[in-house]
């Protein structure tokens, strides 16, 4: 039941040696594995807001970046909003897709599979009776999220399915959306 490591050279742009080295180092020093990810968000107007994402904490110290990133969110005109940016729930879909896609590239590199193209298409079902408070039995969030991958790679169908499955197994965002998380909110 072992997977044969392939010897041919593939390049998915992932530095697997560095990832494996990090895994080994963090196994020896679990305290360095404690990370904190951060974002700040300011209200602009209406449902429009702007998040700034920059520094994070990890490997036992503050990590600074060369750039900070800006992510905006709003709501569409059918919600009587200005549609300046995607809705937060669409950003969740985007986050899930990006996390799974990055995982697919890393696992493929590790397994010696050359990727040619990876495209994820996502759809989340939502019953607005939840967020509008019409029916307390309806949840606010997605009832179900469907993710479809179109992947072209130098591998069998089963090996490609295994890539996608392994990526889900090790995905942070997949875990965040499928499992509960304690959320602590404070004011001032």
């Amino acid at each position: 039941m072992t997977i044969q490591a392939e010897t041919r050279t593939v390049n998915n742009g992932v530095n697997v040696a560095a990832l494996l080295g990090a895994r080994e180092a963090l196994d020896q020093a679990p305290e360095a594995a404690q990370f904190k990810w951060r974002a700040t968000c300011e209200w602009v107007n209406g449902t429009h807001s702007r998040s700034i994402i920059g520094n994070f904490f990890g490997l036992g110290t503050e990590q600074s970046r060369e750039n900070t990133f800006c992510v905006e969110a709003d709501h569409p005109q059918v919600f009587a909003a200005e549609d300046n940016a995607p809705t937060p729930v669409e950003l969740v879909l985007s986050g899930l897709a990006s996390c799974l896609t990055a995982g697919i590239a890393a696992v493929a590199q590790r397994r010696g599979i050359q990727l040619y193209s990876v495209k994820a298409t996502l759809e989340g079902d939502m019953d607005l009776q939840g967020i509008l408070g019409i029916d307390n039995d309806v949840r606010n969030g997605f009832g179900v999220i469907r993710v479809h991958f179109d992947i072209s790679a130098d591998a069998s169908d089963d090996d490609i399915k295994a890539l996608v499955a392994q990526s889900q197994k090790r995905s942070a965002v997949f875990d965040i959306v499928t499992n509960p998380t304690n959320v602590v909110v404070t004011v001032n």
Binding site: M1, T2, I3, A5, P30, V144, D158, K161, A162, A165, Q166, Q168, K169, F174, D175, V177, T178, N179, P180
Partner: protein, 413 residues
């Protein structure tokens, strides 16, 4: 204080196999056993349990099954008789009713304290098993008090459960077997499944454990696998030993009427929360099963046996319906019992030697512990994939006894 060259802690298959080799090397030793030979098989298993390996596969050094049902699966009383006969046959020096309370490194070896006095020895073999304590997740503490909470160590049969439905947490060998049996007793059962390993009992007319042995999968060594930690953490196989040689998996349980839900990931104010990741774990298990079946097919073809066995086949993918339930209010449901089939771990509370890595595991290289003269046996994938099976005790004992013997010579030189 008594003196002996080697103390073996535990008289199960691992300790007995080691004893056989030490006797062959003329190394004086004693097996300290808290109960009797094969104690945990006798006292810490549920009534209906049978071995997951066929009778012929319970091979031990200079000993094998000679009954008239080589393809059957031993019940627990049969396992106990089988190992007791082996202990008699090999003349294993078992001191039963002796509980080890402390092992301490001293000059030139170890001091082993028991409730029946102390021993001084040069080498110690820890053969006390991998399944001493039921590992229960921390969220256990959040269970409403009205619900009976039980581990497989305490479970014997459905008759001891209160009336009402049962939530079985964990879908490895223990969880699927208990779910099946409790459902058959007339109770509604909900089975919470995370990562699992699915296998057919019989493939191409032969037992799957037989195939894994024949193709060499059980002999794969610990220094040959890509990711040893992962191999050692692999959940136990979804198998059951029944006279009908039936296959047990999430599909078969669902057809019986067991409700399958995702991994139990939260318990808050009595509400159990189940993960939405179950579909992926089912895909992983189906793919893994098919890889094993493909390697069996390849072995059969490579050895020119295609016509000797049934044709290759693949099984229906795991199908749990459109959506599994994500939560359940235990304050307001028919569930009256939760059984934690969430794995086992060894108990080393008596081991006072600095050989631990995080999470209480012993640091060892294929059973050779990083303290001179200290060995461990019977852990999952310790030296080989078969290390934690009866069939694996012999080869591991041969290797470790040879190492132990050499270390005594080196010390004497």
């Amino acid at each position: 204080m008594r003196h002996v060259t080697t103390v073996i802690i535990g008289a199960g298959q691992s300790g007995l196999a080691m004893s056989k080799y030490l006797t062959d090397y003329s190394i004086d030793h004693v097996l300290l056993e808290r109960g009797e030979v094969a104690n945990s098989w006798q006292k810490e298993r549920w009534d209906s349990l049978r071995l997951l390996t066929p009778n012929w596969q319970s091979r031990l050094p200079a000993y094998s099954y000679e009954g008239n049902d080589p393809d059957g699966y031993m019940s627990m009383p049969e396992v106990v008789d089988y190992l007791k006969r082996y202990a008699d046959l090999t003349g294993a020096p078992v001191q039963s009713g002796t509980l080890v309370t402390r092992v301490l490194q001293v000059d030139g070896g170890y001091e082993v304290t028991t409730d029946q006095g102390s021993w001084r020895c040069r080498t110690v073999v820890i053969a006390s098993g991998a399944c001493n304590i039921a590992a229960v997740p921390a969220l256990w503490a959040e269970l409403p008090r009205s619900i009976v909470s039980m581990t497989p160590m305490e479970y014997r049969n459905p008759g001891q459960l209160p009336d009402g439905s049962v939530l079985v947490v964990g879908a490895s060998a223990t969880g699927v077997q208990l779910a099946r049996e409790i459902h058959a007793s007339g109770r509604d059962v909900i089975l919470s499944a995370g990562e699992h390993v699915r296998l057919p009992r019989i493939y191409r007319g032969r037992d799957i454990k037989g195939w894994m042995d024949v193709i060499g999968a059980m002999d794969v060594r610990y220094d040959e696998v890509d990711d040893l930690d992962r191999a050692r953490r692999l959940p136990s196989l979804q198998l059951i030993g029944t006279p009908e040689r039936e296959t047990i998996d999430l599909n078969s349980l669902r057809k019986l009427g067991v409700e399958i839900v995702g991994r139990l990931v939260g318990l808050r104010d009595g509400e159990a929360q189940f993960s939405g990741s179950l579909a992926n774990y089912c895909v992983l298990a189906d793919l893994k099963m098919n890889r094993l079946l493909s390697s069996i097919d390849a072995w059969i073809s490579a050895n020119g046996h295609d016509n000797r066995f049934d044709a290759p086949c693949r099984y229906e993918p795991t199908n749990l319906g459109p959506q599994t339930r994500l939560s359940m209010d235990l304050n307001d449901s028919s569930v009256k019992t939760v059984i934690w089939a969430t794995g086992y771990r060894p108990d080393y509370s008596w081991l006072d030697v600095p050989v631990f890595v995080h999470k209480g595991r012993i640091r060892h290289d294929g059973g050779v512990v990083q303290a001179p003269g200290l060995y461990v046996m019977g852990l999952p994938f310790m030296r080989r994939r078969k290390s934690s099976f009866i069939d694996g005790a012999g080869d591991d004992a041969a290797d470790l006894a040879a190492h132990l013997n050499r270390s005594l010579y080196r010390a004497a030189a």
